[in-house]
């Protein structure tokens, strides 16, 4: 293990890779600072550029981009009271009051230190839990794997922002799209509707670019104008910020662990972990009334948690091939393009690559720290760039990205079509991530389903006779039916005394 870590560090420190990491970090912080453009947008927009890179360089770029975008969101929360990413909403509660008190420099430095510590704890979690979880995957058969993938998809639909019913429908739509083309097991051509263009199936990369990036560009085109005119001034406070963060190390460590655990669970992610961390810290504080008025713990908690969530989200994706959210789904797309299979083999045959990924995540916090401490106020100026200048490059980068996937003009049309679809889905409260997750999980689910059916001589009983598969099925049923039943039961319990009262 240790020699591979050393080799991984050596690979990471190759000049080309260091340059990529720096470029990705700067781009990531800028995108994170721009409200509305989160890590999913950044990963989708730059995903195609990784296709022509070496596999290690591609993952280094994506890791640095992911971590730095989440970091950038916190800066906007403090300076503008507008969360840059969904993972920094809770940072506004105390970050902006601190900025109004003239402590923006202190807050940003403290957040940077918390981000570095939270990020390191998250990476440690990824290093130790992902290989262990991957070993578990070796013990489970195709029926269990199928049920686990179905459970993962359903969890994302239920837990993510939006309507669960619409999320499940989108998951189903994504699965249907993945069935188009040649069946991977029997080789039969299916659902091509007579079109030769559909014989190779619909690639998930142009779809992801469309629903995550082009859709966002349409939203920005609708909004127009600039993101911000009023910005708090940033001055000094570097040493005070470092001291304030280190004084509250317990808060940082505790919320990082919370963030890591939330990240590992499918479907929840940074949008929830920052809130949970904030609320837990507020609950545990001796003086909770100071939260919301500029308490430094109120910015340390969410920012430490969301950095740990970044690594946590990668655990099920790397270990099982089951993404916990849209960001990790995009990682799986990049891995698939480079022929990297997630699962137990990833840590055995691609141990060096994984070590490089760990180092990339780790080292990306060096430029993040430097940007956070010395460059945040300059970076924040990007919020003054008008959408009239931002929107065209986003769309054109998406077009070129879709084109670079397979040099096919059809992919451009698919990306644009799904961009329009993605816009409608976003505005009508559909959890868009479920569509892409369905497309990614489709081949995995179907191959395991078919293998399970072969093992059981075409009997569906295998899904209920295998204990672990049954457990997953029961959890799935509880998750799908439980809230409805509990809701009705709860209503009855509440209505009974009310009815008595009115009588």
């Amino acid at each position: 293990m240790w020699p591979q870590f050393a080799q991984g560090l050596f690979q990471m420190l190759q000049p080309g890779n260091v340059l990529l990491l720096l470029v990705a970090t700067v781009i990531g912080v800028i995108i994170g600072i721009l409200p509305g453009l989160g890590p999913v947008f950044a990963l989708a927009l730059f995903l195609p550029m990784t296709f022509s890179m070496h596999d290690a360089s591609a993952l280094i770029f994506m890791c640095a981009l992911y971590a730095s975008t989440v970091f950038g969101g916190g800066i906007t929360s403090i300076l503008l009271n507008v969360p840059g990413t969904p993972g920094s909403v809770a940072t506004c509660f105390d970050g902006y009051p601190l900025a109004r008190q003239g402590k923006a420099g202190l807050a940003i430095t403290a957040v940077t230190v918390a981000s570095v510590i939270g990020g390191l704890i998250g990476i440690a979690g990824l290093i130790f839990t992902a290989p262990a979880l991957a070993q578990v995957s070796l013990l489970i058969g195709p029926s269990e794997y199928f049920m686990l993938a179905l459970l993962g998809l359903s969890l994302v639909a239920i837990a993510s922002k939006g309507d669960p019913l619409r999320g499940l429908a989108m998951g189903g739509f994504g699965l249907l799209l993945s069935f188009i083309g040649r069946d991977s097991v029997s080789g039969v051509l299916r659902f091509t509707f007579g079109s030769t263009n559909l014989q190779g199936g619909i690639s998930f990369a142009p779809v992801a670019i469309g629903v995550f990036a082009i859709a966002q560009a349409l939203v920005m085109a609708e909004e127009g104008g600039t993101i911000s005119q009023d910005m708090a001034k940033v001055s000094g406070g570097i040493m005070e910020g470092i001291k304030a963060a280190l004084r509250n190390w317990v808060t940082i460590v505790r919320t990082a662990v919370i963030g890591l655990v939330i990240g590992i669970m499918p479907g929840i992610g940074i949008s929830t972990s920052n809130f949970v961390a904030y609320l837990v810290e507020k609950r545990l504080a001796k003086n909770p009334e100071t939260f919301g008025t500029g308490d430094i713990r109120g910015v340390l908690a969410p920012e430490s948690a969301n950095k740990a969530t970044v690594s946590g989200e990668l655990v099920p994706a790397f270990a099982l091939g089951i993404p916990g959210g849209a960001s990790s789904a995009l990682f799986l797309i990049a891995m698939a393009v480079h022929g990297i299979q997630p699962g137990a083999n990833l840590f055995k045959s691609n141990g060096l690559l994984m070590s490089t990924v760990y180092w990339a995540l780790l080292i990306s916090y060096v430029p993040i720290f430097l940007i956070g401490v010395f460059g945040a106020k300059y970076m924040a100026q990007v919020t003054r760039i008008p959408n009239s200048i931002l929107v065209p490059p986003i769309i054109i980068l998406c077009v070129l990205g879709a084109l670079s996937f397979a040099n096919s003009i059809n992919d451009v049309f698919i990306a644009i079509l799904f961009g329009v679809i993605g816009y409608v889905l976003m505005k009508r409260k559909y959890p868009v991530a479920c569509l892409v997750l369905g497309m990614i999980l489709g081949p995995l689910m179907e191959s395991n389903f078919q293998r399970a059916m072969l093992l059981s001589h075409n009997s569906l009983s295998i899904f209920v006779t295998r204990p672990l598969s049954l457990v997953f099925l029961v959890i799935l049923v509880i998750l799908l039916v439980g809230p409805g039943v509990l809701g009705k039961f709860g209503k009855k319990l509440h209505l009974a005394p009310m009815t008595k009262g009115t009588k």
Binding site: L165, G172, F179, I416, V420
Partner: protein, 148 residues
């Protein structure tokens, strides 16, 4: 309900209808496939058709009564993108990108013509050069321009 919200609702209904049609078609087509390749798609198609239908009866809580200030409504933005696809196919990446950049940035309020043209030049020629040479992407020349 505002016009923009009505348009979004119409687009949602149209999209849902198309997904429903696709699911039903895949459900029917699955019966002509060997059972191994048909079983899972058949169930997922059935489930998706039911779910997308059920979703139509659940209201979407949007701020429908508040008038949004809209720069380029999405249906216009979508039309621009469709037009871009057509010009892209006929005249290639560079011409289509230059036109789209000029139209979009002007519509979004960029008053400075020099900046607009510079942006169009960078995106259509600069990015095409970078992607063509650094990422080995074949930049489409356009079906019509190829003929001539």
């Amino acid at each position: 309900m505002t016009t923009i919200e009505k348009a979004r609702r119409f687009a949602d209904r149209l999209f849902s209808f198309l997904v429903f049609l696709m699911a039903v078609a895949m459900f029917i087509l699955s019966f002509s496939l060997p059972s191994q390749a048909a079983l899972l798609p058949r169930w997922i198609a059935l489930a998706t058709a039911v779910l997308i239908l059920a979703a139509q009866f659940k209201p979407v809580r949007n701020k429908e009564n508040t008038e949004e200030e809209v720069q380029i409504p999405f249906f216009i933005g979508s039309l621009y993108l469709v037009a871009y696809c057509i010009v892209f196919y006929l005249f290639g990446f560079r011409i289509a990108t230059a036109i789209l950049t000029i139209v979009l940035s002007r519509k979004l309020g960029l008053k400075n013509w020099v900046l607009t043209l510079l942006l169009a030049l960078v995106l259509s020629v600069g990015l095409a050069y970078i992607f063509g040479h650094m990422f080995s992407v074949r930049i489409p020349e356009g079906a019509l321009l190829k003929i001539f």
